[in-house]
């Protein structure tokens, strides 16, 4: 057994994280539903431990092969990591339409993506941190790619090696073919810290 495997979350910790993420996703869904004035469908959160080099194939598996727009945002607090928000299945201007823009240019479209990602990430991870009784902060979000395949979002050299925690939640709109995947990536040394926080939460039950 390698050291990295020792840091994988156990079944109880994964169950706890799934439910805590579920609560966070509900908060994020509600925030964005208020802005869009539409009902937002929520998925069951999926959690996997993967090798960092498998992140692109995992993204493709969850998001699909069609071109997507994506934003990344780092978080830090008791644990750190990065959230990748992938917008798929709809034209970019659908998002602009939802946010009340008539004719958004590409700069406005990018700003919209950043805004929406910021709302989703802030509400979701903010709620997770609150449930775990910890503080969390966020860096400014940045655009990873516009109209590119999900597998092209991260280059091999920035993926690095070792294990990562992959947590996916999905928001969908009933009336439009539009989905937003929120994927949390955490490096191996941070997973141990998260595991401890989850243990503390489990003990409180």
């Amino acid at each position: 057994m390698t050291t990295a495997e020792n840091f994988d979350l156990n079944e109880d910790q994964r169950d706890a994280l799934q439910e805590i993420a579920n609560i966070g996703m509900g908060q994020a869904g509600s925030s964005i539903a208020k802005i869009w004035g539409e009902f937002v469908g929520l998925s069951i959160p999926r959690i996997a431990h993967i090798d960092r080099q498998s992140i692109p194939s995992m993204l493709t598996r969850f998001v699909g092969d069609l071109p997507v727009n994506a934003v990344r945002q780092a978080f830090h607090g008791q644990t750190r990591g990065e959230v990748v928000v992938v917008f798929s299945g709809g034209r970019g201007d659908q998002l602009a339409e939802l946010m009340g823009y008539e004719d958004a240019d590409s700069v406005e479209e990018q700003e919209l993506l950043l805004d929406v990602a910021n709302i989703l990430v802030g509400a979701c991870l903010g709620s997770v941190a609150e449930t775990l009784g910890t503080e969390i902060g966020f860096s400014a979000p940045s655009v990873m790619g516009m109209n590119v395949g999900a597998s092209q979002l991260m280059r091999a050299e920035e993926l690095g090696s070792g294990r990562a925690l992959f947590l996916e939640v999905r928001f969908t709109l009933e009336k439009k073919s539009f989905a937003s995947h929120l994927i949390v990536l955490m490096p191996v040394e941070e997973i141990r810290v998260l595991g401890q926080a989850l243990d503390k939460f489990l003990e409180s039950l």
Binding site: Q18, N22, M25, G26, G29, S30, A33, V40, I44
Partner: protein, 122 residues
């Protein structure tokens, strides 16, 4: 006679959180189900007075359970317990026959307020 309570949620942690928040002086028998199909099976196999029902579940979700209960004229008090806190989700489940909606994470106070409001506990 104890009240039959069925806790329906795919997450064992969520079921545990809910059961922990139930009033300690409430005379109940608790059964659990991890999806909608199991919930309906449990319902048909015996008595369920009060059902705590999650919405987002595999196999059969909470909306489908509400629909089936209504279609088959099944009689029990359903309290939806969900992380989906959109106003529309709450409206939907209430229009489908749930008596109330409790948001996750559940608190003992929130739960006891709802149970009192509907005269389930005094």
């Amino acid at each position: 006679m104890p009240v039959s309570v069925l806790v329906v949620d795919d997450s064992p942690i969520a079921r545990k959180m809910l059961i922990r928040a139930l009033p300690s002086n409430w005379d109940i028998e608790i059964a659990q189900a991890s999806n909608g199909l199991e919930a309906l099976t449990a319902y048909r196999a015996g008595k369920v007075d009060v059902m705590f029902l999650d919405l987002t579940m595999p196999e059969m979700d909470g909306y489908q359970v509400l629909e089936t209960l209504r279609k088959e004229d099944l009689n029990c008090l359903v309290i939806v317990v969900s992380a989906d806190v959109q106003a529309l989700a709450q409206e939907r489940v209430l229009s489908m026959g749930a008596i109330s909606f409790i948001r996750k994470p559940v608190t003992a106070e929130g739960l006891s307020d709802v149970l009192k409001k509907y005269g389930i506990i005094v």
